[in-house]
Amino acid sequence: MSTLTEAPPPLSPPAPEQKPPRRRGRWTPYWLLLPGILWLVVFFAAPMVYQASTSVQTGSLEEGYKVTWHFATYWDALTEYWPQFLRSVAYAASATVLCLLLGYPLAYLIAFRAGRWRNLIMILVIAPFFTSFLIRTLAWKTILADGGPVVGALNTLHVLDVTGWLGWTSGDRVLATPLAVVCGLTYNFLPFMILPLYTSLERIDGRLHEAAGDLYAKPSTVFRKVTFPLSMPGVVSGTLLTFIPATGDYVNASLLGSADTGMIGNVIQSQFLRVLDYPTAAALSFILMAAILAMVTFYIRKSGTEDLV
């Protein structure tokens, strides 16, 4: 009889977090999940389905729309707005690269070199978040103003000649040019690059650097062979966190750009809120979503960190 009361030996090595069996708790996880998941299903997943159906509807605002499986909307939207799509990807990609180039030294500084200033610098990175990003973006209008110190300096250094030749700026202006939009995007999404970079850099054991140095690696070699590879998770999540929102952004292009720098977000916004052409707007936002998902999947495969997401 004793064999019945004794617990059988565990088949696998016992994990320390193994919990005692609970008879009452079987439904607990579902009750905990229910309200939040319901919220996401109703207000996130269902709207996506609604939007999918809207994109294949035809009709007019007065007579109402009907699902007619009119896929031509996708084709029409794509042929009409491909420049804005390309521009969005180009601007977002430039901003992401700039964020990486600018953000890496700062993240590195906070992680390894800041010492007792670390907390202060962290606060200065995060605190601007609390000033409305629209106010801060408008401040760029002052900074990049025609005839202002920034434009003056760029002019004296003949930088504007080069950027004008590349098509990034036009004449003596920076405002209302692609350069201004990319500058605003870079600024707005920089913290989203710095924080994941910092997190992954901070995890690196400093002794690895010392070991590499003891093996006669130059500082640049230590960075190339040890630090950078180990910070890859941060690089990947940082680039995703900047690239995805930057592609859909329309605030920078509206406030700092001109009619020639419109991004796809501007088109979606005006189709939805001003033109009221819902099927086209829905098709556009679906193409954007699909394009981003495709690019992100490709990128994650390439960078070999699939376990990250």
Partner: protein, 266 residues
């Protein structure tokens, strides 16, 4: 040569500080221009020093109304998202159940989706339902997009918690409720607070999703957006400066208090 060597040694620090300057430059401009007395409707050019706007921050029609509306929405959205998100985080970390993978991706997707796509699809739903756009639709949207961030923040904290502490509490005859309130909740509190703070900041500052789902209701970011077209009052810079200063003070105070508590424990 000495300079070149010095530069080589400190190149990371210099580059990092330049980036920090780039990040803070707009805040400096916002602060300086809160003391401007603009000539005309737009506050983009420096004219002359004045403290008028600081003496009368509500002097512009609609500004303080939109500010208080944004605060209310952010407060309710924070409460809603934190409650729902904390429950999800606990369920995901502490229990094994079916559909975990599906639920994890449902949590992840809103963070990976461009805002404009979420905003547009939610508007499609509201239009189809014939919902009245305004306070409630904004609140629903804000809870929706803050939820995932709260789950992520709380999950990180709960994952690093030692479950044996709770078992110990139960061994000492604490009931499930007592264990939760006196052991689990205090340990998870920093994670929940981080999630709540993030939710508050995200909701208060959100423009794109609000712009789609607000109807004719005007939140503070929407007021700023409108003023970029009509003319920007100096009071906007006053609010921006005040928000920055309050945020810095808040973080400094909480850090000092945290340090003191740690020292007392040690």
């Amino acid at each position: 040569m000495a300079f070149v060597n010095w530069f080589k040694r400190h190149v990371v620090v210099i580059a990092g500080l330049l980036t920090l300057a780039y990040l803070l430059l707009p805040n400096v401009v916002v602060t300086v221009f809160s003391f401007n007395k603009p000539n005309g409707r737009f506050n983009y050019e420096w004219q002359q020093f004045s403290t008028d706007a600081w003496k009368d921050p509500c002097g512009v029609a609609g500004l303080c109304g939109s500010l208080s509306l944004s605060l209310q929405i952010a407060l309710w959205a924070t409460l809603g998202a934190t409650a729902l998100g904390t429950a999800i985080a606990f369920a995901l970390v502490r229990y094994r159940f079916r559909a975990r993978g599906a639920i994890n991706s449902l949590i992840f997707l809103p963070m990976a989706m461009p805002e404009v796509v979420m905003a547009a699809s939610l508007l499609t739903l509201f239009l189809n339902m014939g919902a009245q756009l305004g306070f409630w639709t904004i609140l629903i949207a804000h809870i929706m997009f803050c939820l995932s961030f709260v789950v992520t923040a709380v999950k990180a904290r709960v994952m690093s918690m030692d479950p044996r502490l709770e078992q110990a509490a139960q061994d000492l005859y604490a009931g499930p409720f007592q264990t939760f309130v006196r052991v689990t909740l205090p340990i998870a509190a920093p994670g929940i607070a981080a999630g709540a703070l993030l939710a508050f900041a995200l909701s208060f500052d959100d423009f794109i999703i609000t712009n789609f789902n607000a109807g004719s209701t005007v939140t503070f970011p929407m007021f700023v957006w409108g003023s970029a077209q009509r003319g920007t009052p100096v009071q906007i810079n006053v609010v921006g400066t005040a928000m920055f200063v309050i945020a810095v003070l808040f973080v400094l105070v909480s850090m000092v208090l945290g340090n003191r508590r740690n020292r007392r424990k040690a």
